[in-house]
Amino acid sequence: MARVEDIPQPTRDAAVSIACPSFDTAPFVTGPALSRRKVAIVSSAALIPRGAQPFPIGSAEARFLPASIPPNDLLISHVSINFDRTGFQRDVNVVYPLDRLHEMAADGVIGGVADTHYTVMGSTDPVGMTEAADRIAAQMRLEGADTVLLSPV
């Protein structure tokens, strides 16, 4: 588990000591009640539909995951071999919780689920992801989605 003492070396030192970017601003967007929010997932697992090209190492791109892609067709193309895949092999929701979000929308806990979700390559400096963030934000605005669940691996 991701308690520091439980992460095997050398991943532990890398996870703790990795340089994290700092930002000049600290935006904080408030919004309506959860029951009125439309939620999109952003996964750092570099997910690809079966048959697609895996993410290149160090890629700063964002790829879209439209609802037309069955979650069970998704593969992890993340560069790191130092995190567990067996959970994902058993249940895609452990990384990409689309079924859970749809259940919560059906129950009225959240207002809705976005038509498009997004994935990027983790272990990549986010400073280079400006264009990716622009594309995600534009698509979310187009769909009326207002809330992002960041699901890192």
Binding site: V29, S77, F83, D84, D91, M104, T147, V148
Partner: protein, 234 residues
């Protein structure tokens, strides 16, 4: 970055130190294993509780920064005593030629294929596929790699990339075969079986050693870093 574009965000934080350093607007730190942000495969109730805790942070107005902890450990962190590893016939001595490796690997793949097919029926999917090669073609490809050739796979520009993704596929195949029946094992149980008790695990170690001695720099790099996780290197 998304928050500055007008979107409210909440992160499930895998490593607390990173969340504290990055200072996102909202984050829920969980004790989930890396690679399982929602915590527990096949446990919708646990996953839903993680999501409710994370999304609930969106209703608070006392940020930034809001960093909260999810206190429950996912159940499958601990080994499951009822899980039984698939039976494979590990030879007493390791193969000593590329073709012998390929033959032993092919035999093991054949013996595990029924379990691998069962798991696809059970969970509705396989997570193999990154290499674009079906399992029946894996032994021949690794035979060439161990022999020092630089074979290519359609769709991957270099041997290094093709072999990198083939190693991911091999690990996925065994991980899935190991979960064909019975309760969810811990990842440690599956890893211990794969890396210490299968030809497939030993093969990846051999590919790593061979690749690191290659004159091809890309192959040398991916072999050292992307075939065998550091805790399992022998």
């Amino acid at each position: 970055m998304l928050e500055s574009r007008g979107l409210a965000t909440v992160a499930i934080a895998a490593v607390r130190a990173q969340a504290e350093n990055t200072r996102p607007p909202r984050a829920l730190w969980t004790s989930s294993q890396l690679g399982r942000p929602l915590g527990e495969p096949g446990d919708a109730a646990f996953q839903r509780r993680v999501l409710l805790a994370a999304l609930g942070l969106l209703e608070r107005t006392d940020g930034p920064v809001i960093l909260e902890e999810f206190h429950d450990d996912p159940p499958a962190w601990t080994d499951h005593p009822a899980w039984v590893a698939p039976r494979v016939a590990m030879p007493g001595t390791m193969p000593d030629t590329p073709s012998a490796w390929a033959d032993a690997f092919a035999a093991e793949l054949r013996s595990l294929t029924p379990a691998w097919e069962r798991v696809q029926a059970r969970f509705g999917r396989t997570t193999t596929g990154l290499s674009f090669l079906p399992p029946t073609e894996w032994p021949s490809f690794v035979d060439h790699c161990l022999a020092g050739d630089l074979p290519l796979i359609d769709g991957h520009a270099t041997t290094a990339l093709g072999l990198r993704f083939l190693c991911d596929d091999i690990k996925a195949f065994y991980g899935e075969a190991g979960q064909a029946v019975g309760p969810a094992p811990s990842s440690r149980q599956v890893d211990t079986w794969f890396w210490r008790a299968t030809i497939g695990g030993a093969l990846l170690q051999a590919l790593r050693r061979t690749g690191m001695e290659s004159g091809n720099n890309a192959l040398k790099t991916v072999s050292g870093r992307m075939f065998v996780p550091a805790p399992w290197v022998v």
